[in-house]
Symmetry: C2
Subunit: 302 residues, 2 copies
Amino acid sequence: MKTCLSTSIDMIEYLSEARRAVDACLERLLPIDSETPSTIHRAMRHSIFAGGKRIRPILVLASGSSLSGDREVLLQLGAGIEMMHTYSLIHDDLPALDNDDLRRGVPTCHKAFGEAIAILAGDALMTLCYQILSSLPGVPDSVRVAVICEIARATGTVGGMIGGQVVDLESEGKPIDADILEYIHQCKTGALLRASVRCGALAAGARETEMKVLTAFGEKIGLAFQVVDDILDVTSSSEVLGKTAGKDEKVKKATYPALYGLEASRKKAQELLEGALADLEGLGKEADVLRGLARFVVSRTT
Amino acid sequence: MKTCLSTSIDMIEYLSEARRAVDACLERLLPIDSETPSTIHRAMRHSIFAGGKRIRPILVLASGSSLSGDREVLLQLGAGIEMMHTYSLIHDDLPALDNDDLRRGVPTCHKAFGEAIAILAGDALMTLCYQILSSLPGVPDSVRVAVICEIARATGTVGGMIGGQVVDLESEGKPIDADILEYIHQCKTGALLRASVRCGALAAGARETEMKVLTAFGEKIGLAFQVVDDILDVTSSSEVLGKTAGKDEKVKKATYPALYGLEASRKKAQELLEGALADLEGLGKEADVLRGLARFVVSRTT
């Protein structure tokens, strides 16, 4: 309950309500199981509804709501981004990449449906994300184009998610370098988290100054999220995380604890949180959810 | 030279010039080899520049030009769609799917770069396609949104490319059914070819009647292309095709020749061509390239 102390919002309740709303939106936007061809729709739903914190859609919701954005638009936008995130998990888990059997506490997509369907289910979730973004209800086309461009850049090869994943793969087993670690973290996870905050703001018609503040906030929260992820891989168990713990060390991944140690990593996460909160100083009470979310990202245990 | 007889356009020369223009545009839009992380950019370029007929971008160009669309916009749109097509080839060739070693006459992406990079190179080409479509120069945002939505639907699971691929995979080795064959052909190849014609028209600001005519044309040409592909798999060699010939029969794929025989398949392709040409009857000389292209699709030998 530590996360609730310094804002007026009960974050535990907020997160649980937001997750329910995001899940209901995902339920509406995904083809039903029985839609032809049903195998691929069952595989997409398997991975989407295997759990997950829904951090990205909740960041979209919190960022857009701080600027009075339309809730239905923000939910659909967040659901699209969650599909993009899930596609990346399905492909990362494949035998040719991280070869993971467990994700969000259940068998990974290729374990449950075979490799061919898992590859196509990842492709399909990315495709559906763009279909949803191009059809966001009741917003100007300029907003649809802006969020599509934002997401494509954040997940691409140059400074985006795929770029981070490639460098991560190529760094396994090699001596860890601080610059490369920063590149991997900023690209592989940071870019889509930052884009989630920015897309929420874009959908709410943010002004340039608001965009600048929220971008700085999103950057710090994106990095903090990954530093905490690295820490939890060392300090938590597979049962608690719902994915294979201790794996980073085993495959000699470039992580914060491996390079700087646990204590310095915790300090780094705390500094990023304080910086992120400072970024929001100019915003009023409407940004309290973002503040609570930032604290949650750093204090989370799973 | 049969393709040139009944129009005023030298199709051989037109196709060769159009391919050069498409390749030059792809060259400009793809990150250079040395851009970090270079492995993925080399892999993307390996598959894009391994050859290929560039049928989809040329359909975009011919369709848009018949309505006086801007050439640079049509080239970028076509290049994006070619990236989408190439992503699907890279993923289809993977060991878990068709397990092919040869494509467009050179080693497939996973043979040259390994499976992990091939999966990510496919993902990256799809992502770059959407980034390009969201940044098409000098067109209204409504056009950008319309082509993105069109491409996402044509490549998705419900009536699109991924749906066709799933049913194709699931039908291997089973008795061939005419309805399933039609579904596979319409979705797996037909949908993106039809979308190429429609996107060219959308980018050129087509009116509703023009859209209707070109959609009917695109549907027939999309199906004709696949019927001819099936025929060539039986009658041609790997050397000529640049991919493994005779494979459909070996894995008992649902194809036109397997279901109806070679002669009936040839007749079907010819009927589709005549229907496609009839669709264009209301259009003038500006549609001559589309007419020539339709003849090329049916008379091609590779």
